[in-house]
Assembly symmetry: C2
Homo-oligomer: 386 residues x 2
Amino acid sequence: MSAQAPHNTLLIPGPIEFDDAVLQSMAHYAESHVAPGFVKVFGETLTLTRKLFQSTDPSAQPFIISGSGTLGWDLVASNLIERGENALVLNTGYFGDSFEQCLSTYGAQVTQLRAPIGERPSLEQIEQALKEKTYKLITLTHVDTSTGVLNDVKGVAQLVRRVSPETLVIVDGVCSVGSEEIAFDEWDLDAVVTASQKAIGCPPGLSIVMTSGRAIQRATTRQTPPGSYYASIANWLPIMRNYENNKPSYFATPPTQLIHALHTTLSQITARPMAERFAIHTQVSDSVKAAVAQLGLKQLAPNPDAQAHGMTAMYLPEGLTPPDVLPGLLKRGVIFAAGLHKEIATRYIRFGHMGVSVTDANRGDIDKALSALKEALAEAKQAKGL
Amino acid sequence: MSAQAPHNTLLIPGPIEFDDAVLQSMAHYAESHVAPGFVKVFGETLTLTRKLFQSTDPSAQPFIISGSGTLGWDLVASNLIERGENALVLNTGYFGDSFEQCLSTYGAQVTQLRAPIGERPSLEQIEQALKEKTYKLITLTHVDTSTGVLNDVKGVAQLVRRVSPETLVIVDGVCSVGSEEIAFDEWDLDAVVTASQKAIGCPPGLSIVMTSGRAIQRATTRQTPPGSYYASIANWLPIMRNYENNKPSYFATPPTQLIHALHTTLSQITARPMAERFAIHTQVSDSVKAAVAQLGLKQLAPNPDAQAHGMTAMYLPEGLTPPDVLPGLLKRGVIFAAGLHKEIATRYIRFGHMGVSVTDANRGDIDKALSALKEALAEAKQAKGL
């Protein structure tokens, strides 16, 4: 029995449902950001973040900063590349466009490799692009929240190391960290940018960025000063190192309550092997996708290899739009998200299946959602005479 | 009787003690950031922010963004001034230095007008500086958290309008909004940058910036694109306008729980006239400062006109450092802050008296703090044989 007030079940691709203990951590009493108790909690949270990314390399460095996930792009764009240098953006939807705008803001020369909606650039296309120009970094969206497309991060990273070893591999993992397999050290990644409110299961308000020793080296030996003050690695690096070494330190006040909530959820997540967590997300995703197919709905991502495991983006039947279906779901206590990709936003809906809704089968969230979807679709079709 | 777990009373210059209802808002169940219920709460919170600043000018615009107070400086430095343009920073301590660094990061040419520790630049000095160069903007720290110095925001703004009317007046109000009088429209200010965790009484994690129509005009007609992506006014302006007009909108996911907490505290604060709130902060501050003087302690700011009303920074008796006194306070259930200004950090301590500790006399926080201070000082002197 949950301690939370009764509410509809939130099954969008983030924010997601919270564990009671995580939410209670948000109501922690007032603390100084430099008091020993809080310093210890923040330091442990940084160490837990390493475990989340399955990283043991001491030269790798996690950053946890007050902000939305978007702030992580500024951290990459203002520290890991300099004005006039080349960046290659693998574009699989809305979030590729935004990353491009962020990189351009700080002066990078961006080349985009765009895939059709629901697809991802092939390794052959990426290899060709990498051979045409010297890129300081390449970015890819692990799971594009707008389309549910899963990119092959491991494969792309291997390719980059073979073809263009000096190019930094930057992953937008906002909608993947905690639900998709990521082996930060083993895959030799340089930065994974994420946020607290998706598969990590914490309320929104934290930008979380994991960086490699190579990335830190790049940031601290650049020719020109970083392009941002608030997102400057030089400003935050000593702070993160001090907190993890149990020493108070100040650049900007950390959001103490959110750090407690992150500490709680990461303690829960890392108490079991990450492989187990990925396996259960895959298993639930497979059953959701089978059920969706049985309802006659097509996914935006047709290729199973390129389908995310923490969400499903599905086209509605011809003649129906999100406002025909979402209220029927809501009536049954379930919240899905409307489409987000500009070109087709009115033609599809998104179902997020991450975190406690997946790992705690006793909640019954997924079964409830699938029943509600079936009924809401039937109702909407009938209302439209389809 | 508080619903919060027993804890020492936090009386530093932010974060501060929370009202129970505010803290309970932090544990709000999961919500979509574009759901009608949340859109309404966020929109109302923006409208309440106008009331906090006593602003009724519809061309003025509040911004509430996931981040620390520091992020507001990036918003100013990357939108309201362009590369190579001049900025005048009135420096009264640690936070003037930081604002200078932030402005320089985005390419402004910064001139600093530095006052000795505990002092503030005089209106005559400021007038002279304004006549020497054309400044795009002037910044001043309303209350410098490192020294407790209060700047004369109204006087400086009047002076600027008379001498250099096109210069934007930018106030760092992180440690003043909610405890010091601010009449945004009447004083004709252009931006006040603040944060959630000081006299506003909300947990940390929100950057709050109030801007004038003139500032918005400057930001949206600049010659070069804004220097930041995450702190870009162009990116956030339509979002804030839409939310306040009850329309969902997306640039980056807002921290939904913190917005609820801010809504709760701003509803409480604005339920009574702001003048009343300022008066009680002044009254409590006067009695704190009288008690401190009775203990034989000198303030960093000797001039009563330049003393903040939400905090008191006091030199320790010769021979004592913060580690001699702060543990004695803690033993008595009270937390003060150590010094922050580099040059004299070991010689003084800071007492924050803001928010519920001031407005809710039943808590007894201030009396408890003054007794604890008296006893801890006596104990420390005795231990040192002073």
